[in-house]
Amino acid sequence: MRIGVLIAVLIYEIVVIFGVGALISKKRNKDEEGGFALGGRNMSVIVLAPTIALTVLGTAHILGVFEMTFGMGAIAYWFSLAHVVLIIVACFGTGIWVRRMGVTTVPEALKGMYGPKNSLAISCVMAGVIWGILTLETQGVGIVIATMTGWGIVQGAIVGGILGIFYVILAGMEEVGVVNVINAAVMYIGLIVATAFVAMKLPGGNFDTVQAFYDADQSTHFMTSIFGTPDLFITFAIAQIIAVVFCQGISQMLLQAYMSAKDEKTIRRSVWLAAPLNGLFGVFAVTLGLTAKSLPQYAELGPKMAATTMIVDMLPAWVGALLLAALLAAILSTFAMTSLTPATIFAIDIYKSLFKKDASEKDVTRMIRIMVVVLGAIAIAVSAYLPPILGAINWLFAWMVPVFWLFVTGLFWKRSHGVATATLAITWIVNMIWTFTSLPASIGGLIGTLPNGYITLITSLVVIIIGNLTTKGEPGYFKVHEFKEV
């Protein structure tokens, strides 16, 4: 076991998380509205951009991309590029709109558009979906710690989960933002140094032999191009963009960062830093994945173990520690946001909205803190019994597709409470049928193999379009409410 690596990384995490948390919590005005959940809506570009980038960069970007690269080559990089498109859509669309509306949660924005009952249903499902992602991040942190140090997955998940809770609980959104700035720097230093060390261990001290390995065979030649083959580009690259953008583009998990921005201009400027910060991570993951497959001793271990085993074998202890810190930076930042955001939804849309309408800022902050601990603890408890990460993420993402389209059409086209209820109910039922019955298998062919995201996209659009064309409804929210740029 690499106990020295583990201790060094844990000391680093504890110093940064507790140091930043203590400093900010001393400074913060505890009565300021949205102070804990939204950092006082005062995030600048330098804090907002890394927070946006790291919130949607987690376990799937590391373990998932290693695995996908093994099977299909560099086109797996489109999983990262899909998140770049997501960040762009949010920075010029959904993120700006929620900031303009001045809301604290996405269900709060939808309450004004589709009424309290639909909003409550969305609150419950959205919090559940984000918590599902939290359990996957907890599993991921356990796997990464276990692979790189020899520790058990459960112990890794417990220690990682506790660090993740402290990442957010001391000072809320502002703490997450500042720790993210430090971690973004550590993440890229770790990735660059580790990739350079792997290259130095290869013949010639660079990746030329890896390129030569794929070029030598016509059937693998396409694997070093991020555009892959035309078939793969349509079935994988475009499919990733659709799934990620329509599912995460409306999620509280990402949009809480945008709600915390100083103003809309800050959001628009952040895209130039957030997009490369998020997107370039995939280049390192894809390069390491391609290298592992080109080396027979690691290729025989299969897609799940090849890249991680190669990294552990090739890197000296100090570089291993740096890389572990880098990977934990990616996963813990997502853990922090996936625990803070469902806790915020619970505190604002359920606790304050239904049970204690006169709750003060202190009451709301206390409830968020309690929920962060409760949600984090349950995620740690169940993380050992989870399904494969990528399959689970695709299923979870599919639940949010109808919410994305209801939000967009409700802002700019038409709003009907009945259509919203029908869209949510029908889409979610179809999603369950597609997952838990043999319907896809009995349909067969290309349609039978479509992932849940496509099914919920088609169902949502059909119900919304037919519903809006056949019912009266109210005009789009932005058509009747004056919102000035903030």
């Binding site: 590029l81 770049v84 762009i88 990739t195 628009r268 391609l290």
Partner: protein
């Protein structure tokens, strides 16, 4: 290989952001008219 992937990625990312910025500018000008 790494350098080629890196340069290609930087180009693709910034082209995507520029396209997003362009669409946003056109849409906001159109909505002000």
């Amino acid at each position: 290989m790494f350098t080629q992937l890196f340069i290609m990625s930087v180009i693709v990312i910034f082209v995507m952001v520029a396209v997003g910025q362009g669409i946003y500018s056109i849409a906001s000008k159109a909505s002000k008219k």
